[in-house]
C-alpha cells in the first residue's frame, strides 16, 4: 500500500517535472532579421541603467536630446537597476529593450547565452566604424567573436593624493614606485591617542573601496588565466609578488587596526568618502571621483597621477585598469530597431558622448569624442585620459561564470590579509583549483 503511494507520488512529481522542463523560458526573438537600412524606427523603448542621483540626471539629459532628435521614439528610463535584476527580468522575458551595466564581467555570459542580442548585424547594416573604439574597449565589449554590447564611456583607475597631507609629511610629488608609495604612506599615517589609525597614508586592504585584485593587476602585469583557460593565480608569479608587497604594508599597520579603520569608513559614493574627508592620503580610484569631489568638496586640494607599478616593472608606469559601462539589447526586446537607435546614439554620437562624459566625468570611448574641443579636460582629468590611451592599460577577462573568479579570490584574500592564511603559494593553488572546478561546472568543460 505504502509503496503504491510512493509510486504515485513519484509519478506525479515526475509528470510535473516534465511539465517544468517543457515550460522553461524560450525566446527566439533574437533570431529576427534586422530591418532594411531605409526603415525608420519608432515606438517606446525601455531603458534600464544603474546610475542614481546626479549621474542619473546626466543620463536623463542625454536621453531627452535623443528623443528630440528622434521624434518617433520615446524612452522610458528606469534608474538604479542592477545586473542581477536585469538578468532575472531577461530570463522571464520582461527584460528592458536597452540595458546598461557597469560590469564588463557579464559580457561573456550575456553574449554566449544570447541574453543580449548580437549587434553585428546592426553594426554592419549601419556601417558603424568600430575603429573609433580603442582595442581594449573593443575587447571588453565582445566575447569570442560575438559582439553583444557597445561601450557607453569608459572608466580608468589612477592614484588620488591629498596635496596638503603630502606636504605636511614633507612630500611634493606623488610616488612613482610601490616602494615610494609604501614609505610615503607610513610617514603620512597618524594615530589617535588610543592607538587607532586616524589618517592613513594608503589603505592596503584589498576589499577597501576600489582596491581589488582586478584593479591592482595591471600594475604588476598579473594575468588571470593561462593560454588553456586555466586559472593563472598560482602560476603567474606576479600575483605572489603583489600579495607579498601588500602583506608587508598590512603587517606594518596591523590587520586589526586596519579592520577597525575600514569598519569606520564612510559611504564610498558620498561626501563621507574617506578620501574626500581627509582620512586617506592616497587612494586608488576611478576618474569619476573628480565629479564627486567637485560636487561634495570643491575646495579639497588634491591631485591625480598614474598608480605606481611594481618596482621591477617600471615600464608599466602610466597604465592602469580600464573598464567601462556597457549597453545591449535584451533578447526579448519588443522594439529592437528603436533600441538600437538609442544604443547607436549613446555610443557613437560625438555630441552625446561628450555631453555625458562632461556630466559624469567618465572617459569617452571614441576617438572623435576624445578629440572634441567640447570635452572638458583639466589636469586632473587628463591623467585618466592618458591612462586610457596607455598601451599598458588592461582590463579583466570575461567568463561564463561572470566575475566568480574574482569573488573566490577576494574571499581568500580576506583570510590572507588578516593573517588567517599564511601559506601564500598553497592558498593561490587552492583558489586556482576552486576557479577551475567552478568554471568546469558552469560550462560543462
Amino acid at each position: 500500500m505504502r509503496s503504491a503511494k510512493i509510486y504515485r507520488l513519484a509519478l506525479g512529481l515526475g509528470a510535473v517535472s516534465l511539465l517544468a522542463a517543457a515550460c522553461t523560458a524560450t525566446d527566439n526573438k533574437s533570431d529576427e532579421p534586422v530591418a532594411s537600412p531605409t526603415a525608420s524606427a519608432s515606438g517606446q523603448v525601455s531603458f534600464w541603467h544603474f546610475f542614481t542621483g546626479r549621474e542619473a540626471s546626466a543620463i536623463d539629459a542625454v536621453v531627452k536630446d535623443f528623443e528630440a532628435s528622434h521624434p518617433g521614439i520615446t524612452v522610458k528610463v528606469s534608474k538604479g537597476q542592477d545586473d542581477e535584476k536585469m538578468r532575472q527580468a531577461i530570463s522571464a522575458g520582461k527584460g528592458p529593450d536597452v540595458g546598461l551595466s557597469y560590469s564588463t564581467d557579464i559580457v561573456g555570459n550575456f553574449c554566449t547565452s544570447g541574453a543580449w542580442r548580437d549587434l553585428n548585424p546592426y553594426i554592419t547594416r549601419d556601417k558603424v566604424d568600430m575603429n573609433q573604439l580603442a582595442p581594449v574597449v573593443r575587447s571588453y565589449t565582445e566575447y569570442k567573436g560575438t559582439r553583444c554590447s557597445m561601450p557607453v564611456l569608459a572608466d580608468t583607475y589612477g592614484l588620488y593624493y591629498n596635496k596638503k597631507l603630502l606636504a605636511d609629511a614633507g612630500f611634493t610629488e606623488p610616488p612613482k614606485t610601490l616602494s615610494q608609495l609604501a614609505e610615503m604612506a607610513k610617514k603620512m599615517t597618524t594615530h589617535k591617542a588610543n592607538g587607532d589609525i586616524d589618517v592613513i597614508g594608503f589603505m592596503p586592504f584589498l576589499d577597501y573601496y576600489e582596491n581589488s585584485p582586478a584593479h591592482w593587476a595591471p600594475h604588476w602585469a598579473a594575468t588571470w588565466f593561462d593560454q588553456s583557460g586555466k586559472s593563472a593565480l598560482a602560476t603567474d608569479p606576479a600575483w605572489a609578488a603583489m600579495l607579498t608587497w601588500q602583506k608587508q604594508l598590512v603587517d606594518y599597520y596591523g590587520s586589526d587596526k586596519l579592520t577597525k579603520f575600514s569598519a569606520g569608513k564612510g559611504d564610498e559614493f558620498s561626501a563621507a568618502n574617506d578620501f574626500e574627508r581627509g582620512k586617506v592620503a592616497m587612494m586608488l580610484d576611478g576618474e569619476w571621483r573628480i565629479a564627486f569631489i567637485n560636487a561634495d568638496k570643491p575646495n579639497l586640494d588634491y591631485g591625480t597621477a598614474p598608480f605606481p607599478p611594481a618596482d621591477d616593472k617600471q615600464n608599466l608606469y602610466g597604465g592602469g585598469y580600464v573598464t567601462g559601462n556597457i549597453v545591449g539589447i535584451s533578447r526579448g526586446s519588443d522594439n529592437p530597431e528603436a533600441a538600437w537607435e538609442l544604443i547607436k546614439y549613446l555610443t557613437t554620437d560625438t555630441g552625446a558622448i561628450v555631453k555625458l562624459a562632461n556630466g559624469i566625468k567618465n572617459v569617452p570611448t571614441t576617438q572623435a569624442a576624445l578629440a572634441s574641443p567640447d570635452l572638458q579636460v583639466d589636469d586632473k582629468f587628463k591623467t585618466f585620459l592618458d591612462i586610457f590611451a596607455n598601451p599598458n592599460s588592461a582590463t579583466s577577462p570575461s567568463t561564463a561564470n561572470g566575475a566568480e573568479y574574482q569573488t573566490l579570490f577576494g574571499t581568500w584574500l580576506v583570510k590572507w590579509q588578516t593573517g588567517r592564511a599564511t601559506d601564500l603559494q598553497a592558498g593561490l593553488e587552492s583558489v586556482a583549483k576552486q576557479i577551475d572546478d567552478s568554471l568546469s561546472l558552469g560550462t560543462g568543460s
Partner: protein, 337 residues
C-alpha cells in the same frame, strides 16, 4: 500532579464485506456533492499546484541540469550534487554556519522569550508597558534592524565600543568585522527581536489553569517543580511550535546575515547586486541560503542552486519530522512514538 493522557485514536471503519448496488438518484446526488466539494477546494488546489507543487517539481528537475536562467537547461545527472559534496569550497562552511545559528539562536530565543514572558506575567504594575517594550523590536523590519545593529556595533564609530571604552574596558571587539564574533553578534540581534515568540509564550502561560499551580503548591512543590511539572507540560505544544518554526527559519536565515555582511564588508558595489560581498568576513556569515543565492544569481549557476534548494528542503523536512517524533515521545511516552 497533572499528567497528560494521549487521546485515543479513532477506530477505523471496517468496510462491509459485500458492496450493495447504489441506486442511480443517490449516485447522482453523491456526484454532485463531490463536485461541490471539489469546487470549494479548487482555490486551494490551484494555489498549492501553482505556488508549491510546480516550483518544487521544477526545482527538482533543474537540480539535475546545467541551467543559467538564460539558456535551455542541459541534463547533467547528479553532477551538481557531486560538486556540492566534493568540490564546492564553501558548501561545508555554509552548512556549518547555518547549523551554528540553528543550534545557538533557536534555543537562545526560546529560553530568553520564556524567561521574559514568565517575568512579565509576574509583574502587576507596568506589566503591559513591559510587554509592549519587549514586543516592539519584533515589529522592526529585519533590514532596518540589522542596519541599526551594524551601526551600534561598528567597532570604529559605534556606541557599543565607545561605551565599553568609557567603562574602562580595554576590550574593543570588531563585532561584525571579526569572523569569530560575527555570528554571536547575529545571535544578539536575533535575541533582541524575540518579541514574536515571547508574545505567544505569554498567551500560553496565561492559559495554564491556576488550580494546577494551587494543587502543586499544596503538594509541596517548589518553584522549579511547579515549572517542570505544571508549566512545561501545559506549554509544551507551543514550545514545540516555536522550536519547529525557529529551526525552519534558521535553515532559511538570509536577510540579517546578508545585510550585516554587505554593510560590514563595505558598500555593495553599485550596479553589481549584492552577490559579491555576501558572507563577509571570511565567510563567517555565509549561511546556506546566502551561498545558494550567490551561486544562482551572482555566478549564474541556477541548476546548482536548485540542487542546494532540494537539499535544504529535504533537511528541513527531516528536522521537522525528527522534532515532532521526539516531542511525541516526550509528551506521551514510548508508545506515542
Amino acid at each position: 500532579m497533572t499528567t497528560l493522557v494521549r487521546p485515543a485514536t479513532d477506530e477505523r471503519v471496517v468496510p462491509p464485506a459485500r458492496v450493495r448496488k447504489v441506486p442511480a438518484p443517490l449516485r447522482k446526488k453523491r456526484r454532485k456533492h463531490r463536485l461541490f466539494v471539489a469546487a470549494l477546494m479548487a482555490p486551494w488546489a490551484i494555489g498549492f499546484s501553482v505556488f508549491f507543487l510546480y516550483p518544487l517539481a521544477a526545482t527538482v528537475w533543474f537540480s539535475f541540469t546545467r541551467y543559467n536562467l538564460l539558456e535551455q537547461p542541459v541534463f547533467i545527472g547528479l553532477r551538481n550534487y557531486r560538486f556540492f559534496f566534493t568540490q564546492d569550497p564553501y558548501s561545508l562552511q555554509s552548512v556549518r554556519n547555518t547549523l551554528w545559528l540553528t543550534v545557538f539562536v533557536v534555543p537562545a530565543r526560546i529560553i530568553f522569550a520564556l524567561v521574559i514572558a514568565q517575568l512579565v506575567i509576574q509583574i502587576k504594575r507596568g506589566g503591559n508597558l513591559l510587554r509592549t517594550v519587549f514586543y516592539l523590536p519584533a515589529l522592526a523590519p529585519p533590514v532596518a534592524a540589522t542596519l541599526a545593529f551594524t551601526y551600534l556595533f561598528n567597532p570604529a564609530t559605534g556606541p557599543v565600543n565607545q561605551l565599553l571604552g568609557k567603562l574602562g574596558i580595554g576590550w574593543q571587539p570588531l563585532w561584525f568585522s571579526d569572523p569569530a564574533l560575527a555570528k554571536p553578534t547575529l545571535l544578539i540581534l536575533s535575541v533582541w527581536g524575540l518579541g514574536d515568540v515571547m508574545v505567544i509564550f505569554l498567551a500560553t502561560l496565561l492559559q495554564v489553569p491556576n488550580e494546577q499551580y494551587e494543587a502543586a503548591h499544596l503538594d509541596g512543590a517548589n518553584a522549579w517543580q511547579r515549572f517542570r511539572y505544571v508549566t512545561l507540560p501545559n506549554i509544551w505544544p507551543v514550545l514545540l511550535f516555536a522550536a519547529v518554526t525557529g529551526v525552519i527559519a534558521m535553515l532559511q536565515f538570509f536577510t540579517q546575515a546578508a545585510v550585516a555582511s554587505a554593510v560590514a564588508g563595505g558598500t555593495a558595489p553599485v550596479g553589481g547586486g549584492l552577490g559579491e560581498r555576501l558572507g563577509y568576513p571570511d565567510n563567517s556569515m555565509l549561511t546556506f541560503p546566502i551561498w545558494l543565492y550567490v551561486k544562482g544569481f551572482a555566478n549564474f549557476q541556477l541548476g546548482y542552486a536548485c540542487a542546494m534548494a532540494v537539499m535544504l528542503f529535504v533537511v528541513s523536512l527531516a528536522f521537522t519530522a525528527v522534532l515532532l517524533r521526539r516531542s511525541r515521545v516526550f509528551l506521551y511516552g514510548a508508545e506515542g512514538a
